[in-house]
Amino acid sequence: MKHRPLYLSALIHAGLSLACAAVLYPVLWVVKLSLSPTEALSLSVNPFPETVTLDHFRTVLLASDSAGRWLFGRQLLASVAVSGATTLVGLSLAVTAAYALSRYRFPGKEGGMQVLLLTQMFPATLMTVPLYSLLEKLHLLGSLGGLVLVYSTASLPFCVWMLKGYFDTVPRELEEAAVMDGASPGQVFWKVVLPLARPALAVTALFSFMTAWNEFILAATLLDDQASFTLPVALQRFVGEYKTEWGKFAAGALIVSAPVMGLFYALQKHLVGGLTAGGVKG
C-alpha cells in the first residue's frame, strides 16, 4: 500500500478529532453530572466538573437490599447472564435460519423473510400486555430464561436479515470446493461459512447483546425479584414520579455502558482484518 501524503493524514485526523469532540461533549456532561455532589444541571458551558465526588458511584456500586444482599453484584450477574445468553441463543437461531434462507429453496421462504421484517413495524408499546399473558401460560414469568427467549426473538429479525445479506456475498464456490474435498454439510457450515462471516457475526452479536443489555420495561414487568433485575431496571429506579436523581442515574449509565465498550473493543478486530480478502482469488 502507498503512503498517504502528510497533509491528507492530518486532514483525516483533524476530521476524526472533530467528530470525537462532537460525540464526547454531551458525554462529558453525563460524566460531570455523575461526579458533581449536587446532582444539579450546570448552568454554564463548561463540561468539566468544578468539584468532584465519587459518592454517586459509591451509592450505585454498593447498593444492597434490606436482607443485606449486594444488589449491584447480583444485578450485574443477572445482566451479564441474560445478555450473554441472549447473544448465544439469538445468534445460533439466527445463523442457522439465515444460512438456510441464503442457501436452500423451500416453501414459505420469501414470505418468512417478509414476516420477519413486518414484525419490526408494529410499535412495541402495545405488545407488552399480550406478551405477559403468553409468558404466564408458558410458566416463564419471573425467570431469566423467559426474558432471554423474549430478547432473542426480538433481536432475530435484524440478525437474520443481516446474516442472510452477508451469507449471500460469500461465494458458493468455496463451499463447493469443500464438498469436493469430502466435507459434510455440517463441516462446510462450521469450518467454511462461519469463519468467513465473522464480521457479520460480530455486528449481530453486538446488536443482540445491546438489545438485552439496555432494556428495562420488559425486565421490570416480567421479573419479580430485586436480585434478579437487570441493571437497567436498577438504573430506572433513580427516575421517580416527582424527581430524578440525576447524579446517580448518570453514574449508573456510565457503569452500564462500560461493558458494552469493552465488548465492542474485543469484537472490533473481527469487524476489520480482511478475512475474506484471500478467499475469492481464483
Binding site: 454531551p26 414484525t119 403468553l134 404466564e136 445491546m210 430485586q226 424527581k243 458494552v260 472490533q268 480482511g274
Partner: protein, 722 residues
C-alpha cells in the same frame, strides 16, 4: 401424657401452618429515605405480627403497567403503595379490594380519606400527603409573602433576568403547577354538567397573572424540575413552588424556609394546590386478605406512620403521629401539613385526566408563543374536544365473521389452484434441510412475536371503555383517524400531518445516519490509520450509553437561556434561538439528537459490510489507474449494497418508530407538531384515557405505511438489479 402429646402436635401443626404461609408481598416505587423508612416499618410489622413481608421496589415508569398485568393473573402483590390519582383506573381494572373495618375515619386528617373514596367505599389506607408549597431562600426573602401583591413587590426586587437572576421558578408549563392559580382566582375544574372547563374569567385571570410573571422577567424560561433545582441551589432564583420531594434536593449550604402559597389579593382566596394522597392498596387477588389488610393498616397509622414521618420525612396522613413531639417539632412536616389542609384533593374523575394535555398546550402557548390568555383558554378547549371524541357505536360482529370465513376459503382456493404441477421434491430438493434449519427461529418468532402482534391488530377493531371493557366497533377507529375527525388536515393532530412529519423525520435521519456512518467506516477501516482503535471505541459511545440520559443532556444543550448551543451561537454573534417554540427548530433539535445517537450503529454495520468486498478488486482498480472516487462509485457502493441494504431498511423502520427521542427531546413541542405517528399512538394509549383501540388502529396504519415502503424498496431494488 396424652394431652401433652396432643398439645405438642397442635403446636407443631400451627408452627407448620405458619411456616407454610408464604410471605406477604409488598410492591412500591419508593427510594432513598422513604424506602429506608418503609423497610423499618415493615420490620416492625413482622416483629409484632410474626408475618414475613417480601418487599419489591420497582421503577416508577414500569410500576402501574406491571400492576395491571400481574394482579389479574394472580401473580401480583398482596399490598402495593401508589398515589390516589390512579384510583379510578385501578378500580375499573378490578385491581383493588376494599379497606375493611380496621379503617377508622377519625384516625386520619380530614381531607385524606375522601381522596380514596369511590362508589361508596374506601379503597385504600392513606399513608402520606403531597402538595405544593413555597420554598424560599431566607438570605434574600426575610419573610414569605402572604398575598400576591406583596409577592409581586418582592419578585420585582429579586429579579434581574439580564444577569440570570429570577424571583420565582416552577414548572410553569404543567397544569399541576398552574392549578393553584386557577383555584386562587376563583376558578373550578368542571362546569355545572361535570365537563372540564377551560374558559371563563377565573381561568383567563389566572393565565393573565402567570403571563405577567413571565413578561416581567420573574420566571426563567422552559423550567423543568432539574432546572428549578439547579437555579435554586446556585442562588439564582429566590423562591420555588414545589412539593415535599424538593427538600431532599436542596444543597446543605442553603438557608431555606417553607410557607403555604400566598393568597390572591383581588379575590382573597388562597392559591390552593392539588392534594395527592399516597395510599397502601390491598390487591383484589390476594390469597391472604387478613394479613394484607393488617399490613396496609399498620403502615398507615401508629408506629408505621411515625417511622415514615421521622425517618422518611413523609407528611403522614394519620392524626396521631402529628401529635407526637418529634413530628410536631419538625417544621418541614408541620408546614406541609398546614398547606395540605387547604389543598384541593385531586379528583380521580376521568374528566381531570382529559385536562392535562389541553392545559399544557394552553400554558406553553401562553409562555412561549405569545398567545393571549383568552386565546390560550380557547385553544385548550378545542384540543379537549378533538381528543375526546364520542365513543363510536357498536358494530355487528357476524358480518365480520362471515367475511373472514369467505376470505379464508378464497385464499385456500387460490393456494390450491396456483399449486405447481411440478412434484414438491423436485421443486424444492433441499426443502427439509432448509426447514429444519429455520424451524427453531420460526417457532420463537411465531409464539413470541406473531401472537402478541395479532392481538394488537385485533384490538384496533375495538373501543376500550373507561370501565375497562372492550366493545367491538368495526372500522370506526380507522374512519375517525383517516377522516381526521375533529380537526383540519393541516393541523398537527391530523393523521396526514403527522404522517408527513414522520416520513420527513425517517428520511432525513436515515440519510444522515448512513452517510455519516459510512463515511466514518471508510476512514476507519484503513489498517494503517493510527489510533483507529481509540477513534472507533470513542465513536460508538452514543450507542453504548443508555439514551434516556443522553437525550436529556441534548435537551439541556438546546435550552433557550442556559443551553450550550445558544451560548455558542451568541459567541459567534448570532441571536439565541428559542428551539422548541417553532416547528422547524424543534424538528432540527430532534434530528440532531437522533443523528448523534444513530450514526454509530450504521458505522459498525458498515465496517462489517465493507469486509464483504474483496480487497483484490481495489488492487486491480489501482493497477488500472482508477481514482479513489471511481473506486468508491464502481466497487464499494455496488458491492456494499447486499450487506448494507437490510440494515438501511430496518434502520428506516426503526427510525419511523423511534419514540424515545421525540418524547424526551421536543416532547412534541410546539403543540404536538413534532410528534411522529408512534408517539401519537403512545399518547392515545397512555395519556388520553387509555384509548387502546384507537392507539392500535394508529399502529396498524403505521404498519400499513411501512409495509408499502418496504414493498416499494424491494421492487425498486429488484428492477435495478434486473
Amino acid at each position: 401424657m396424652n394431652a401433652a402429646r396432643t398439645g405438642a402436635l397442635a403446636l407443631l401443626l400451627v408452627a407448620g401452618a405458619a411456616a407454610a404461609a408464604p410471605p406477604l408481598r409488598l410492591w412500591h416505587a419508593y427510594r432513598g429515605a422513604e424506602e429506608a423508612a418503609l423497610e423499618q416499618a415493615v420490620k416492625r410489622f413482622t416483629e409484632e405480627s410474626g408475618t414475613q413481608v417480601e418487599l419489591l421496589a420497582l421503577p416508577y415508569d414500569a410500576f402501574a403497567s406491571k400492576l395491571a398485568s400481574a394482579i389479574p393473573h394472580g401473580v401480583g402483590p398482596d399490598v402495593f403503595l401508589y398515589a390516589h390519582e390512579k384510583l379510578r383506573s385501578f378500580r375499573e381494572k378490578g385491581l383493588l379490594a376494599r379497606a375493611d373495618s380496621r379503617l377508622v375515619a377519625a384516625d386520619y386528617l380530614p381531607n385524606a380519606l375522601p381522596a380514596l373514596q369511590l362508589d361508596g367505599a374506601t379503597w385504600g389506607y392513606p399513608l402520606s400527603l403531597k402538595c405544593l408549597a413555597l420554598y424560599y431562600d431566607r438570605d434574600r426573602v426575610p419573610s414569605p409573602p402572604a398575598t400576591t401583591d406583596e409577592w409581586l413587590l418582592q419578585l420585582e426586587q429579586l429579579s434581574r433576568p439580564e444577569d440570570g437572576q429570577f424571583g420565582l421558578a416552577y414548572e410553569a408549563g404543567d397544569f399541576y403547577f398552574h392549578a393553584p392559580f386557577l383555584f386562587g382566582f376563583g376558578g373550578t375544574l368542571f362546569d355545572g354538567a361535570g365537563h372540564a372547563r377551560f374558559t371563563g374569567k377565573p381561568m383567563e385571570d389566572s393565565l393573565a397573572f402567570v403571563l405577567g410573571l413571565h413578561r416581567r422577567g420573574y420566571l426563567p424560561e422552559e423550567a423543568s424540575g432539574a432546572l428549578v433545582k439547579s437555579l435554586f441551589n446556585a442562588q439564582r432564583v429566590a423562591m420555588v413552588i414545589s412539593g415535599p420531594w424538593f427538600a431532599g434536593e436542596i444543597s446543605p449550604e442553603m438557608n431555606w424556609g417553607i410557607a403555604p402559597l400566598p393568597s390572591v389579593s383581588s379575590t382573597g382566596l388562597p392559591l390552593a394546590p392539588f392534594l395527592g394522597v399516597e395510599a397502601a392498596f390491598v390487591s383484589s387477588r390476594t390469597q391472604q386478605a387478613e394479613g394484607a389488610q393488617s399490613l396496609a393498616h399498620f403502615l398507615s397509622v401508629g408506629d408505621g406512620a411515625y417511622l415514615r414521618a421521622t425517618a422518611g420525612k413523609q407528611v403522614p396522613a394519620d392524626t396521631a403521629s402529628h401529635r407526637t413531639d418529634a413530628v410536631k417539632r419538625d417544621v418541614f412536616i408541620s408546614r406541609f401539613k398546614d398547606a395540605a389542609l387547604h389543598a384541593v384533593p385531586m379528583p380521580h374523575d376521568l374528566e381531570l385526566q382529559k385536562m392535562w394535555e389541553p392545559m399544557k398546550l394552553a400554558l406553553r402557548g401562553l409562555l412561549q408563543g405569545g398567545t393571549t390568555p383568552e386565546a390560550a383558554g380557547a385553544l385548550a378547549d378545542r384540543r379537549y374536544r378533538a381528543l375526546h371524541r364520542p365513543a363510536p357505536p357498536d358494530a355487528p360482529v357476524m358480518p365480520w365473521l362471515w367475511g373472514a370465513a369467505v376470505l379464508g376459503l378464497a385464499a385456500a382456493g387460490w393456494a390450491f389452484s396456483t399449486r405447481s404441477r411440478e412434484p414438491f421434491r423436485k421443486r424444492y430438493p433441499e426443502a427439509w434441510r432448509g426447514l429444519a434449519y429455520v424451524a427453531p427461529a420460526a417457532v420463537g418468532v411465531v409464539v413470541l412475536i406473531l401472537v402478541p402482534f395479532s392481538v394488537g391488530i385485533g384490538l384496533s377493531l375495538f373501543h376500550h371503555e373507561p370501565s375497562g371493557a372492550y366493545r367491538f366497533v368495526g372500522l370506526s377507529n380507522f374512519t375517525d383517524i383517516l377522516q381526521s375527525r375533529g380537526y383540519a388536515i393541516t393541523e398537527p393532530l391530523s393523521f396526514y400531518f403527522t404522517l408527513f412529519v414522520t416520513v420527513a423525520w425517517a428520511a432525513i435521519n436515515v440519510v444522515l445516519h448512513v452517510g455519516i456512518g459510512l463515511l466514518l467506516a471508510l476512514v476507519l477501516k484503513d489498517p494503517l490509520l493510527r489510533l483507529r482503535g481509540l477513534y472507533r471505541v470513542l465513536l460508538i459511545l452514543p450507542w453504548a450509553i443508555p439514551n434516556y440520559i443522553t437525550a436529556l443532556m441534548w435537551k439541556g444543550l438546546f435550552h433557550r437561556q442556559f443551553g450550550a448551543i445558544n451560548a455558542l451561537l451568541v459567541a459567534v454573534g448570532v441571536e439565541p434561538v428559542s428551539w422548541f417554540t417553532r416547528f422547524s427548530t424543534a424538528f432540527a433539535a430532534n434530528v440532531v439528537t437522533n443523528t448523534w445517537l444513530g450514526f454509530p450503529f450504521m458505522m459498525v454495520v458498515s465496517l462489517g459490510a465493507l469486509q464483504s468486498i474483496p480487497q483484490d478488486l481495489y488492487e486491480a482498480a489501482e493497477v488500472d489507474g482508477a481514482s479513489k472516487w471511481v473506486q468508491f462509485r464502481r466497487i464499494t457502493l455496488p458491492l456494499l449494497r447486499p450487506a448494507l441494504l437490510p440494515s438501511v431498511i430496518l434502520g428506516s423502520v426503526w427510525t419511523f418508530n423511534m419514540f424515545n427521542i421525540i418524547y424526551l427531546v421536543s416532547g412534541g413541542e410546539p403543540g404536538g407538531a413534532t410528534d411522529i405517528l408512534v408517539s401519537e399512538a403512545y399518547r392515545w394509549a397512555f395519556q388520553r384515557n387509555e384509548q387502546y383501540g384507537f392507539a392500535a388502529a394508529y399502529s396498524v396504519l403505521i404498519f400499513a405505511v411501512l409495509w408499502l415502503y418496504t414493498t416499494a424498496t424491494k421492487r425498486l431494488t429488484a428492477t435495478e438489479a434486473a
